[in-house]
Amino acid sequence: MADSAPVLADRAVPAAPAPRPGPAPWRRRRRSPTRYLWVLPGVGLATFVVGYPIVSNIGASFTDQTAGGNQFVGLQHYRQILRDPHLYESLWLTVQWTLGVTAMQFTLGFLGAVMADRSSRFIRVVRPILILPWALPGVVAAYTWVFLYKEDGLFNQILGLFGDDSRHAWLADSSTALLGVMVAAAWKGFPFYFLLLLAGLQSVPGETKEAARIDGASGWQTLIYIVIPQMRATIVTSLALGVIATSNYFDGVYLMTGGGPSGSTETLPVWIYNVAFNQFDIPKASALSVILLVVVALLLTVRGVLGLITRRSA
């Protein structure tokens, strides 16, 4: 009976509670054992497709399945990987990639969101266009940019207009390939920040901005001192999700360069795929998958710490 009438109790006069014979039928039903069944379809599906394979893979990474049967080999795969200098190259590449792409996407998305946070017919028409790259399949975005970067593609044609006729093959050169893929990924992914930051901007009450303006703040000052502090939660959440998504981004990188030339774009996800499906070393790929999970878990921890800091200072 303890939780049977909490909502009404706040408002009703406490003196005369109506006598009740027992929990009403619908209350009783809410506590029936079948309530677990309701959440089973979704939870079961997610567990079957994602949860179970991930957990069983952690176990499998300690065994050797190539030597017929499952032989426990302990940390052998991990020891081999940790001795492989390519791991550190790939991790460092993933860090550069993530920071670079996130910086580009966030800048573009934030700029766009601040500029689009007003009502004009022009902006209402253009806004959906800005989100379009995000709806494009990664394969299509990748091939779009592969052709833009070709020796006689649009990029070099534009450079030609400015007198640069070098006809550089951007993706075939290991010194420019990473930057090339980063720009393409920024183009494809910036609408994520644009959308979330725009929603964040629009949730700041108009009165707050109005008040700042009446007190004599310029548009710029209002943005820096009034609006951005109120959007802190949106900014932290979007950056956290964006960093996780970017560090794990596979399609664009793999389809544009396959990780090459000479490994110059082989971030951790691309390396895993190459090990599994081009070198057919499934045990090594299993262990690498676990390492990528650890990287994501670390990123989530950082997000948790950041969340605590912003909550405390807010």
Binding site: R29, P137, Y143
Partner: protein, 275 residues
């Protein structure tokens, strides 16, 4: 009297910035569409020259397997949308209306699974699907996609279920509805918009998917359109026109769905992140 020039420039600055970003977004797409229509000089034709336009590249792309690939994607993504939305709606109702020990933990654990990178999942899923005989099957791929998208759908639909007053449930229960009857006859009919939004979200995201599809199929008969396009571009390496036509064909259905339901999609994404 018109305001001074400086004032006018400042007023127009946002529009100008948006216009520049819009051009950066659109020019590559228009360039690809134009190139896909060119019979000659695919990459180098001038943007204002339409003399060699035609559909030759498109017929070549469709004569290869791309037509079948489109159909496969339609089946896998359609199946995933239906299964994910059905499972998610029941589950969202459960999480919204019933309390039990560990419900919160279970709910958040399910969402946490969503953050697991595809690249970490590819190898284990490839092994499991092989063991279960789901390799090279559109049903298997649809099931994988459904499992990957359920959590976001649950989150989305739960937001809508929470908005429906519990009085509705209780009134129906007093009138003698069973638990399932309350859900089926009272709550679910009110969830139409949420289920449509969820279905569109799943359809758009799974249509784009590449890495899972490419690892659980290796028979061209079961390739989705993204995997098919990759195989096609490997085979016809120098036929730029056909590859670009194939890219446009891959993107077109999803861009149309997106254009039609843009508002739904945007709400789903911003809602899911804020929730």
């Amino acid at each position: 009297m018109r305001p001074p020039l400086g004032r006018r420039v400042v007023d127009k600055a946002p529009q100008a910035v948006i216009a520049v970003i819009g051009l950066v977004v659109l020019v590559p797409m228009l360039y690809v569409v134009a190139a896909s229509l060119r019979q000659r000089n695919v990459l180098t034709g001038s943007l204002t020259d339409f003399s060699d336009f035609g559909f030759g590249n498109y017929t070549r792309a469709l004569q290869a397997d791309l037509g079948r690939n489109l159909l496969n994607s339609l089946i896998a993504s359609g199946l995933a949308s239906a299964v994910a939305v059905a499972a998610a709606t029941v589950t969202a109702y459960g999480f919204s209306r019933f309390t039990f020990r560990g419900a919160r933990v279970l709910f958040w654990a399910m969402l946490l699974l969503q953050l697991i990178p595809s690249a970490s999942l590819v190898v284990p899923l490839y092994k499991l699907w092989g063991k279960l005989g789901l390799f090279n099957s559109l049903g298997g791929l649809g099931l994988a996609y459904a499992g990957l998208s359920t959590a976001v759908c649950v989150l989305l639909v739960k937001g809508f279920v929470d908005e429906i007053p519990r009085d509705f449930d209780e009134a129906a229960a007093i009138d003698g509805c069973s638990s399932w009857g309350v859900f089926w006859r009272v709550v679910m009919p009110l969830l139409g918009p949420a289920m449509v939004a969820g279905g569109i979200f799943v359809f758009i995201t799974t249509w784009q998917e590449f890495v899972i599809a490419s690892s659980v199929t290796n028979d061209p008969r079961y390739y989705t359109v993204t995997v098919g396009l990759q195989a096609f571009s490997g085979e016809y390496r120098t036929d730029y026109g056909a590859i670009l036509a194939g890219s446009v064909l891959t993107a077109l259905p999803i861009v149309l769905v997106f254009a039609a339901f843009q508002r739904h999609f945007v709400q789903t994404v911003t809602g899911a992140v804020k929730g």
